[in-house]
């Protein structure tokens, strides 16, 4: 760091709420859209939010706050991507398996995607959502060193 340190800006509870609301709006737009690729818009906003929290070293803590604000209770330490999806996507329209799959895709992208490549392009380049989810399982899944989770924490 050269000279002065960057000013850190605390994330207020209202700011967490505003972020969740923004993602809910994005989710609603996906539901209303007929475009097959609309889901990438929602996944991108989830991805950007959690990557930013992770960059500040507070992904798990903030995911817990988000869950608390949306009255979800988690016994285990939450996975930030899955938690944010749970808080912002309609549970009636998104089952646990799909949420888990998207979470794996985003964790895979958090590990391997370049900063300047759009998420949609990255996922498509790597074979699509299903392919990325299985790539995650192969490279970073259970039994593998979870570098993505370490970075998110």
């Amino acid at each position: 760091m050269h000279g002065r340190e960057r000013t850190t800006i605390a994330l207020s509870t209202e700011a967490v709420r505003a972020n969740l609301l923004r993602l809910e709006t994005e989710w609603e737009m996906v539901q209303e859209s007929r475009d097959r690729d609309a889901i990438y818009g929602y996944l991108t906003t989830v991805f950007e939010l959690v990557v930013c929290w992770a960059k500040e070293g507070k992904a798990v803590k903030r995911a817990c706050r988000a869950l608390y604000l949306r009255r979800h209770h988690s016994e285990r330490e939450p996975k930030p991507f899955a938690a944010v999806i749970l808080c912002t996507a309609d549970r009636g329209k998104l089952d646990d398996r799909m949420r888990s799959k998207w979470s794996r895709v985003l964790r895979y992208a958090a590990e391997y995607k370049g900063l300047d490549e759009p998420l949609r392009d990255f996922i498509k380049r790597r074979g699509g959502i299903n392919k990325c989810a299985s790539r995650f399982a192969r490279r970073l899944g259970r039994g593998r060193p979870d570098r993505a989770a370490q970075r998110q924490a």
């Binding site: 002065r4 960057r6 850190t8 207020s12 505003a18």
Partner: protein, 85 residues
């Protein structure tokens, strides 16, 4: 170190800083501290969001909601101007 932000937020923050400097008589917080306060408030109201930029830094940008709102204002202003002439 300056807080990276987009043009819209930069403009809002500059205006707020200028307005505050006119009002205050006593100790003025440093520009960065003041901007941090403004950004925190904008984030809480859903008008600003943080993101990781291409250089890997935490940066700030206007939310789609604020962008849409400003665009609507601009269109309305243009329509008003057309009505006048």
């Amino acid at each position: 170190m300056p807080i990276p932000m987009d043009k819209i937020l930069q403009e809002i923050a500059d205006q707020a800083y200028y307005a505050s400097s006119l009002r205050r008589n006593g100790v003025q917080p440093t520009r960065d501290v003041f901007l941090a306060e403004v950004l925190g408030e904008l984030e809480a109201s859903g008008d600003a969001m943080r993101f990781v930029d291409a250089k890997g830094r935490i940066a700030w940008m206007a939310t789609p909601r604020l962008r849409d709102y400003l665009q609507d204002l601009e269109l309305e202003a243009e329509e008003d101007l057309e009505d006048e002439f």
